[in-house]
């Protein structure tokens, strides 16, 4: 048996490659479909975060963080006890209630006091 004879046999074998039967092709396709059905769909940016578009429209995460901070600060100012203002009001009320000359607080001094001065 010569090399050329062997090459001829190999060439015939290459040309006569068997074709998969319809049954085998169907089984392979069924396997492929079954395996593919088990794959999780590849997440897209929009699919993974439905609110991603809204965040982008608002200006991004940093802008939203600033807005949230401002909102919380407003709530705090609205509900927090205004203790320094109350303290000042009570002090002034006690001062006016005391009818004692030397302790009177003159918020607006009378003009004649300036006239007496030489």
């Amino acid at each position: 048996m010569q090399d050329t004879d062997l090459e001829g046999l190999f060439a015939t074998a290459r040309a006569g490659r068997p074709s998969p039967s319809a049954g085998l092709t169907a089984r392979i396709a069924a396997d492929a479909d079954a395996v593919q059905a088990g794959f999780k769909p590849a997440p897209t940016p929009a699919g993974r975060r439905p609110w991603a578009g809204w965040i982008a429209a608002m200006g991004g995460h940093r802008v939203l963080a600033g807005l949230a901070t401002a909102a919380l600060a407003g709530l705090w100012l609205g509900f927090a006890q205004p203790a320094p203002v109350v303290t000042l009001t009570l002090t002034l009320r006690h001062a006016f209630a005391a009818d004692a000359g030397p302790w009177a607080i003159e918020l607006i001094p009378p003009l004649d006091a300036f006239g007496l001065e030489g």
């Binding site: 048996m1 004879d5 074998a13 998969p20 593919q36």
Partner: protein, 193 residues
């Protein structure tokens, strides 16, 4: 994406499409790769039914591996040949030693057509000679001379060096020539070598 539109897409790209849910990618890969796997397994096992089982199992492993496929490494066909080779060798190890008489007769010899008869006889003789070779030599011969893989590709499939592939192919061809040398006239070859 329709099947026709996938004809120019590489195996690797088809596998990625399959992993991403494309319904046609698996069909395209099957049409492209299953005949090669079946031919290889049939030559290795000399049994059509077992060859079909190996082909289905190898393709199933490909589907399961698809989401983890990394492009740039071993090609899809090389990977599949490696899987099919291992499946064939496993079956050969588990089965009883196969004698020349175990090789199946041709299913259809196209009666009345002498050329087809001669061709069928030659393929039967080749299959018998291949079955008589050691498994690794048969694997290397089939991959190199029938499936048309390059020596580096065969080295990747068999997980050996290129020089080892060359040695296996050379010894395999020498063994085939010796096994077929007494059948030249019977197979329709003219005298002269």
């Amino acid at each position: 994406m329709a099947l026709d539109a996938l004809s120019d897409v590489s195996d690797e790209a088809l596998l990625v499409l399959y992993a991403n849910g494309d319904p046609w990618a698996a069909r395209a890969l099957t049409l492209r790769l299953a005949p090669r796997l079946l031919g290889f397994a049939a030559r290795m096992l000399a049994d059509r039914t077992e060859a079909e089982d190996v082909t289905q199992e190898a393709m199933l492993r490909l589907w399961r591996m698809a989401p983890d496929w990394r492009q740039g490494g071993t090609g899809v066909s090389t990977w599949l040949y490696r899987v099919a080779s291992n499946l064939c060798l496993d079956r050969l190890r588990k089965s009883r030693p196969r004698g020349l008489e175990d090789v199946a007769e041709p299913e259809d010899a196209a009666p009345g057509v002498v050329a087809r008869l001669i061709e069928a006889d030659r393929m039967q003789a080749l299959d018998r000679a291949l079955a008589a070779l050691p498994d690794r030599q048969r694997q290397a011969i089939v991959l190199r001379h029938i499936e048309g893989l390059t020596n580096p590709e065969i080295a990747a499939v068999m997980d050996i060096g290129v020089e080892a592939v060359e040695s296996l192919v050379a010894r395999g061809k020498k063994g085939l020539a010796a096994l077929l040398s007494g059948q030249r006239a019977e197979l329709g070859y003219e005298d002269g070598g």
